[in-house]
Structures are given as structure tokens and as C-alpha cells.
Amino acid sequence: MPIIKDGAIVTDTWHHLADDEPVSAAPCTVSLARWKREKSELAAHGGALGLRLSGDDRVEDFAGELDQFPLVVVEFPSMGDGRGFSIARLLRERYDYRGELRARGAFIPDQVFYLRRVGFNAFEFTYDANLQTALPLLNEFSVTYQAAADEPLPLYRRCAR
């Protein structure tokens, strides 16, 4: 399925493994719970491995191991569940995660501006969303008051006001 990544519509090469699904050599993501359980087996599978987080997962508990994942996916079970926004900022700003950070779930195109600001660079809608609509919304506002993952300084320190 196509996703948005780094401001463009691209084909997704990752497969999101269910917790009971056998691992293949293709790039795949696993839930944090599965990764904790099967760390050594998963490390041996040879292909690229990504990590999937839910809002309940505490980033603090595995922050030291983030570097090994080229992709971290944060799940959004609904558009109203905003925990992922805090998780993203922690990953980027506190734990300095530099890989692909992907929002995945039932969020809507109108949220991608906020999601980009907290550090997501990839967007995977789990329903038939219009990616062409979403693309320009990444930069919907030209003014941002706050510091966030995309911008280390608040407006008052960036601009002479």
C-alpha cells in the first residue's frame, strides 16, 4: 500500500507481522511485546526489523535499544488517541532517534501537520485515505509558535517580533 514518506507518496516495503505470524526474510515490524519475548530469534532472522509501539508502551524502558531499528511505527487506534504525539517527541527529542518514524492507523490527513511537527516523517493510513489530499497538509501552516521535534526553538527565539 502506498504511504507518505519524507513528503512524497511511495510504495511501502515493510510488512507488519502479527504476534503469531512466522518471520520471513522480508523487512518486517514486530510489536514491542513480541520483540521483548523473542529478541534473540528476531535478531537472527537476517532481514530488516522494525518496532511497533502502542500508546501504552513506555519509551523510557527500551530507549537504549532504539538504534538498532531503522523503522519505529507508532500505532494510532483512533484519530482522537493523542498519546502517539508525546511518544514521537520523546523518541526524537529525548532519545535522539534518527530512523524512520511512522504514524500508522486511523488518524486523518488533517492531522499530518501536527504529526510531522512532533517528529513523524512517514504516514501510513490503515484505511483508504486520499494521500493527495494529505500531502499539502504536511505544511498547512507557515507559522508555528512552539518548539517541537521539527523546530528546536519557539517562535519568539526564532524571529525578531
Binding site: G82, E140, Q146
Partner: protein, 548 residues
């Protein structure tokens, strides 16, 4: 007052364009009802019983004459020539068409106004003391900090999809006129031992279904740490606040379930991590402060209003009840009562809005404030203008001399307009009003706050009313639960339930009985609240239920 610079204006303009596109996509079926709901709510738009309702932000209650004229124009063009001031210093229009809302927002943007985050599960319009900057008991003017918080919270990328709505109030005076103890975060300006001013931070207050008084989690916060500390509280709430049940999703429930020690520890631990990254520079504080400098006060005091008051008893009553001392000698702050008999509390006609704008221009440096008790304030009126101003206010029905008195009721729109309501509130307020609408009686009753909500969401703050009235639905009939002894001031407390709910036909009578009982039992000029606190609710209970 604060004037937008190019950044503020551009953001508001871009917000209009955004909502125009969202509304179009909703009407074309591209956005579902469920997807559009949070988007429209974050622009203050509710789909209501009869028609949409649009809530426009009045940041910390401050309005210019120009803005008032624009609101009057909107009321005329898009509503039925009426607008409604709310208990959070905002203003609502009850009859706009959904298709027109983007145009209304565009009109608002031309006078530096918007409806951003006046609803939804986000940080709402910050509220404050309507006497900010002019009251004699002020430690520091809270408005610059309110504006700084407004900007910080506007389109906050991390905190726009919180578990539930989030309300912040700031008070800079010794007397709390901003109800800081019943907000998600209350900021009370204080002075520390070294004479530095900062904030006492309260968290977890709130009204609604589960009314709770806020608790202090930090007795002193330096101003430069304001934003990092707010961000720490919000992050803890966003991550750990409950999302499984909307009635348990406010921060007050998180605080209660976590316990204040553990909650405070989490906030402080988060704060330590971000404190250095998000410093509120003194330069920025100074920049914003320059927008709130004192107007050009006259230094020569004239004869004052005493002789006019002696000659005109109606003016004298108004002067006593509707004006209040000012920090500058020769000036007073004047309350415009939106609680005239027969008018829904907080309602104002388009013609009145225009007249108020002109009067503000003439008598109060072109500025008006909205209060959380649903009245208006001219903050800077010279004492020699008071009599003339009173005459003009009287002629447009805004000089009812009842500020802080029994007929100055806080009242939500209730069943007549609101889709959440279980019972009407305006008609109950009218019933009560008609029973106590005698000036001598009103004066004799003294300071009294009667708050009436049409459902347990509690928009009219009934749990902190001296007398609180809550509408409930009992098998399709409207019944009312009474509470006594609440307050939202420094001595904040929640009212105690009087007894079983009372049917609509007998509510006003019950209130009258309560007031009679007070008059009989009070000692030496004791206020209603003090009498209830001294005696408890029993004597009132006995009298009210004896009749039923």
C-alpha cells in the same frame, strides 16, 4: 491590549483557509461525520438542537470596540441579532449555518479574533481576572502571561488530541476572581521570600460531573519556567490520562487515581528533562508586557460622583453595586449587567453590542472585558464620567444594579438551545428573578451567587454557587438538584446537596424559602455563604422540605 503582529495574523488567516477546506470536504462527503467532529469542535462549532452554535474565543476576556462592532455585525448577519457571553469569557452565536461558518471566521480574522480551541479535547481559551491591570489588590498583571500561554497553546502539535478538554486560568490578584481552584491548571501569581513574583501552580480542579477543588503541586514557579512546567504537566496528562471513559478522562481523575505525591513527582521528573530547552525569555515577557501598558489616565481628579449620587438614589444604588475601586485615584471599574429581568443571562443584542463599543470608546479607552459571571466590565472609567455613563447604560438596559447579587445569576443556555442539556435553565432563572426582583430585598440579601446548569456538565458552575441548581431528567420530566455553600473564590468549596431533587414548578419557591431562612437566621450582617457555613444545611433543608 495585545495587537497581532504579522505572525499572529498569518496563523489566524491560515486557520480560516484550513477550516474552509475542511468544511467543503465534509459537505462533499470526503470527511465523515466522525472525522469532521473534532475538527469543527476545535473551531468552536457545535451541531446543536436547533442549529449550529459557534463559540468565539475572547482571550482572557479582553475585547476592543472594533471587535465588539464586528461581533454585532456577525450577530445581525448570521444569528438572530443576539449573542451570548459564556462562563469562560467567550461569546456564542446560536443560529449560524454550517456553510457560513468559514465566512464568519474570516470576518473575525479581520479584527484579530478566532474560534481556535474553544471546544474539543485540547487546551481551551485561557481565562483570567476581568479586573486585571486595574484592581488595587494586584500582585502582577496576569494578562501578558495569558497571552504567552495563548500563543504557546495555539495549534500545539503535541497537545491537540488530549484525553479530554483542558482549561487554564491565571489570577494576578490577592482575591481570586478567575476561579483558579476549579480549573485543570490554575496559576496564581505569588511573591516569594526574595520579593520575586512567580506562580503557584494548582492542578486537577474542575466542575462538571465530578467537581473537585484543585491542589497545589508547586508553591512557586519562576516566570521563565512557565512554559516548560505547563508542557511537563500536559505531557504527563497526555500520556497517562484515562482514555477508556470520557467521564474519567479529565486530569483531576488522573491526579486523584495517581495521588498528588506521585503525580507531582512525575511532573517534576518530566520538567527536569525539558526545563533548559524551553525557557521563557525575559525578553519575550517584556515584549508581550509592552502590549499591556496603562492607558493615558487623567491626573486631575474632578468633583467625583458623590453629589450626583446624593441627588439621585437610582444612580447611588448602581454606583454602589456596579462599580468597584481602581488602582488609579479618580478612576473606577464599571460592570455592565447582562442580567436584566426577562433577558436570558449573558445574552446581548446586536444594537447593545454596538452601543457598548461606542461607550467603551468614549469612556474606557476603547476596551471591554467579559467576566466569567457573564457580565461586561469597563475597566477604566473616570469618576466624573460615571453619572453620564450610567444614564447611557440605563437607556440601553445594561445598568441593572445587581452585580454580585441574587439576580446576577450564572446560567447556561440549557434545554432551550443545548443538545447536552437535560432540563431548562433560563426559565428557572426567570422564575427566581421574578420572586426577588425588588431592589431593597436584593440589597438586603447582599452578596449572593446563584448558578443554574441544565445538566451535570455544569457549564454554569452550579457546584460552586452559593446556591447551585442542577437540572436533571427524571423520566422525561425536568427536576432540579439544589446545593448550598459553594464558592469559587479564595475560599473555594463545593456546595452540599440539600436533599432530593425538586420539580420545576417548585424550584423558585424553594430558593425563596432558602433566602427567607437566611434572613431569619443570619447574625450581624453575616453573608449568605457565611451563614450556611456556620449553620450547615440542616435548617435550610428542614424549611424547604417541610413544604413538600
Amino acid at each position: 491590549m495585545y495587537q497581532y503582529d504579522q505572525y499572529d495574523q498569518r496563523l489566524v488567516d491560515e486557520r480560516v483557509a484550513q477550516f474552509r477546506s475542511q468544511t467543503r470536504r465534509f459537505l462533499q462527503g470526503e470527511l465523515s461525520e466522525d472525522q469532521f467532529r473534532p475538527l469543527r469542535l476545535m473551531n468552536g462549532l457545535y451541531l446543536q438542537r436547533h442549529a449550529p452554535m459557534l463559540r468565539v474565543a475572547i482571550p482572557y476576556g479582553v475585547l476592543s470596540s472594533r471587535q465588539l462592532h464586528k461581533l454585532a455585525e456577525i450577530a445581525r448577519r448570521y444569528d438572530k441579532s443576539v449573542a451570548h457571553f459564556t462562563t469562560r469569557q467567550n461569546i456564542q452565536f446560536n443560529w449560524p449555518r454550517l456553510e457560513d461558518v468559514p465566512d464568519i471566521l474570516a470576518e473575525l480574522a479581520t479584527v484579530q479574533m478566532h474560534a481556535i480551541q474553544t471546544s474539543g479535547n485540547c487546551i481551551r481559551n485561557v481565562t483570567s481576572d476581568p479586573l486585571a491591570g486595574v484592581c488595587p489588590d494586584e500582585i502582577e498583571d496576569p494578562r501578558p502571561y495569558c497571552e504567552i500561554i495563548r500563543q504557546w497553546s495555539t495549534l500545539h502539535p503535541e497537545f491537540s488530541y488530549l484525553p479530554r478538554k483542558f482549561k487554564i486560568a491565571v489570577s494576578g490578584a490577592r482575591k481570586d476572581r478567575a476561579a483558579t481552584q476549579v480549573h485543570d491548571i490554575g496559576l496564581q501569581m505569588v511573591e516569594n521570600e526574595t520579593g520575586e513574583t512567580g506562580f503557584e501552580v494548582l492542578v486537577g480542579g474542575g466542575l462538571g460531573r465530578t467537581p473537585i477543588i484543585g491542589q497545589t503541586i508547586r508553591p512557586f514557579l519562576a516566570k521563565t519556567d512557565l512554559l516548560s512546567y505547563l508542557e511537563a504537566i500536559l505531557r504527563v496528562y497526555n500520556r497517562f490520562g484515562r482514555r477508556d471513559n470520557k467521564y474519567k478522562a479529565r486530569i483531576k481523575i488522573l491526579l486523584k487515581e495517581t495521588g498528588i505525591e506521585d503525580f507531582t513527582r512525575r511532573v517534576e521528573a518530566e520538567w527536569v528533562q525539558i526545563r533548559q530547552r524551553l525557557v521563557l525569555d525575559t525578553g519575550e515577557i517584556e515584549r508581550v508586557k509592552r502590549h499591556f501598558t496603562a492607558p493615558d489616565y487623567k491626573t486631575v481628579a474632578g468633583p467625583g460622583p458623590d453629589a450626583q449620587a446624593a441627588a439621585d438614589p437610582r444612580f447611588a444604588v448602581w454606583l454602589r453595586n456596579n462599580t468597584t475601586p481602581h488602582k488609579i485615584p479618580g478612576y473606577r471599574a464599571v460592570f455592565l449587567s447582562l442580567k436584566a429581568c426577562g433577558v436570558p443571562p449573558g445574552d446581548i443584542a446586536d444594537t447593545q453590542l454596538d452601543a457598548v463599543a461606542d461607550l467603551a470608546e468614549r469612556y474606557s479607552f476603547g476596551e471591554v472585558r467579559a467576566t466569567h459571571t457573564q457580565n461586561l466590565v469597563f475597566a477604566d472609567v473616570h469618576q466624573d464620567d460615571l453619572h453620564e455613563l450610567w444614564q447611557r447604560l440605563d437607556s440601553i438596559g445594561l445598568a441593572t444594579p445587581n452585580i454580585g447579587k441574587a439576580t446576577d445569576m450564572i446560567c447556561c443556555p440549557g434545554l432551550d438551545y443545548c443538545s447536552l442539556a437535560n432540563a431548562s435553565s433560563i426559565s428557572v432563572a426567570e422564575d427566581i428573578y421574578s420572586r426577588i426582583d425588588d431592589l431593597d430585598y436584593l440589597h438586603d440579601l447582599g452578596d449572593l451567587r446563584i448558578n443554574i446548569s441544565g445538566c451535570m456538565n455544569g457549564c454554569a458552575h452550579q457546584s460552586v454557587g452559593h446556591i447551585g441548581i442542577l437540572g436533571v431528567d427524571k423520566k422525561g420530566e425536568e427536576w432540579y438538584q439544589l446545593t448550598l455553600g459553594g464558592s469559587s473564590s479564595n475560599d473555594a468549596s463545593l456546595g452540599e446537596r440539600l436533599g432530593p431533587a425538586i420539580d420545576k414548578a417548585h424550584v423558585a419557591e424553594a430558593v425563596e424559602t432558602i433566602l427567607q431562612t437566611y434572613i431569619e437566621l443570619r447574625q450581624d450582617g453575616e453573608s449568605f455563604l457565611d451563614t450556611v457555613r456556620r449553620l450547615g444545611i440542616n435548617p435550610f433543608q428542614e424549611r424547604v422540605y417541610a413544604h413538600h
